[in-house]
């Protein structure tokens, strides 16, 4: 085992442990009420991470069995992450009557456009690594991350354009998910093309990036869920008297244009 391999395995252990802690935090602070899909994902991801970690070290589990479980659980993982983004769209737009209907509509259209984009990508850039099974799996993950990353960018771009207020946990969830999806997209795009039959330095480097990004994402979620929610402060202070003249002037301007 190389030093890099030790480091990314360490990150894997750390993020698995942290995911379990995050799940406890979600349950303790009742985050499953406002964010049910996120809560299900946190539970699922903690379970998946622990199972995969166990399978990686269990002597009676073959490499083939490990990758079957990895591939099957990746599908559920992708569906849940997509569900979280839908939940974010709903949370961000629900406070604004003008955008309430626009949000889900945009989400549907963006999903459709990105699915078409992912299909085109799969057609023009199929898996081509020597390790065929893993290359194919990574090509699928790459396509899923195109969808997730694209949706998150649409959400963030809309929120930024309309200067919408994010509740702290919603922004934290989107930020963490975005960092994870963007780094997964980059690394899986490479791995789908160069995945070797046996592990080498490049696979260790890419695994290190994936594990570090996932750890960073879980840390962001934990920090945002632990932090008290910041709301805009309604200031109740005395009105400055000099403003009266300005208001009067404005009223005059409006009444006698």
């Amino acid at each position: 085992m190389t030093l890099l391999s030790y480091i990314w395995h360490g990150f894997w252990f750390a993020q698995s442990g942290l995911r379990v802690l995050l799940l406890l935090l979600v349950l303790r602070r009742k985050f499953y009420k406002p964010y049910p899909v996120f809560a299900v994902y946190v539970g699922w991801a903690a379970l998946r991470s622990v199972i995969l970690l166990f399978m990686n070290y269990a002597p009676f589990v073959s490499g083939n069995q490990y990758y079957q479980v990895h591939a099957a659980s990746s599908v559920i993982d992708a569906v849940l992450r997509w569900g979280i983004i839908y939940e974010m769209f709903d949370h961000v737009f629900r406070d604004y009557a003008t955008l309430r209907n626009l949000g889900p509509k945009l989400f549907r259209w963006a999903t459709l456009a990105l699915i078409i984009g992912a299909i085109v990508l799969a057609w023009f850039a199929p898996a081509s690594g020597l390790g065929r099974v893993m290359s194919t799996l990574y090509a699928m993950e790459r396509n899923v991350n195109v969808l997730l990353c694209g949706l998150l960018i649409v959400l963030l771009a809309l929120a930024q354009y309309f200067r919408l207020s994010w509740r702290s946990p919603v922004f934290g969830i989107a930020l963490g998910l975005g960092i994870m999806a963007a780094s997964d997209l980059g690394t899986y795009a490479i791995r789908s093309q160069i995945e070797p039959i046996s592990r080498n330095l490049s696979t260790d480097v890419l695994d290190l990036i994936i594990q570090a990004a996932t750890l960073c994402c879980v840390l962001i979620w934990t920090a945002y869920l632990l932090a008290p929610e910041r709301k805009p402060v309604a200031r109740v202070v005395q009105l400055p008297p000099h403003d009266l003249e300005t208001w009067n002037h404005e009223l005059e301007r409006l009444l006698h244009p």
């Binding site: 309309f162 200067r163 109740v236």
Partner: protein
């Protein structure tokens, strides 16, 4: 492999965008502290004149076609700038109104709610109107007048004044 390299670059850009968005969240608070400093002046009368189809028709009849196209492009560019200033002001007011929405006074909260909706609508109109104006600069066909942006802006200004009577707007109404 080229597609994969493009995807790696795209993912790096997505990461930069996310980090910038996170920083943007912090900047929003600064805008709420001193909203008047961020307001840009919008001369509604001049703007209405720029987007008036009758005025454009008058110029078309009075000027040589080449000269009219040149002037009309300038007018459209100026109109786009006015709209972008109005959209910017709407973004600033949105933040002030969002804070006012939490006011314990239901009248203030309701007025702030209206201001929030108008500001969002104005930004939505601006999002549609600015590309149309730039398209009209390239293809000088008869374009739809973005008069609703001016109407919405005027309505928003009125709401700011009314909200300012009950909630400290920190000089925003004067800056508009």
């Amino acid at each position: 492999m080229t597609i994969s390299i493009a995807l790696v670059i795209l993912s790096a850009l997505a990461l930069i965008f996310l980090i910038r968005a996170a920083k943007g969240q912090a900047l929003v608070r600064r805008v709420v502290e001193n909203p008047a400093e961020h307001i840009r002046f919008v001369d509604l009368e001049a703007f209405r004149n720029l987007i008036d189809p009758e005025e454009a028709e008058y110029l078309r009849n009075q000027l040589h076609p080449a000269e009219f196209r040149k002037i009309q492009r300038e007018r459209l560019r100026a109109a786009a700038e006015y709209i972008s200033c109005a959209a910017h002001n709407a973004a600033v007011l949105l933040k002030v109104a969002e804070a006012a929405r939490l006011s314990p006074d239901p009248q203030v909260a309701a007025m702030a709610e209206k201001l929030v909706e108008n500001a969002i609508r104005l930004r939505l109109y601006a999002f549609q109107a600015i590309p149309r104006l730039y398209m009209a600069m390239l293809l000088p066909l008869r374009q739809q007048s973005p008069a609703h942006v001016a109407d919405r802006y005027e309505q928003m200004t009125r709401q700011v004044v009314l909200l300012g009577l009950q909630y400290p707007m920190r000089g925003v109404s004067g800056a508009l």
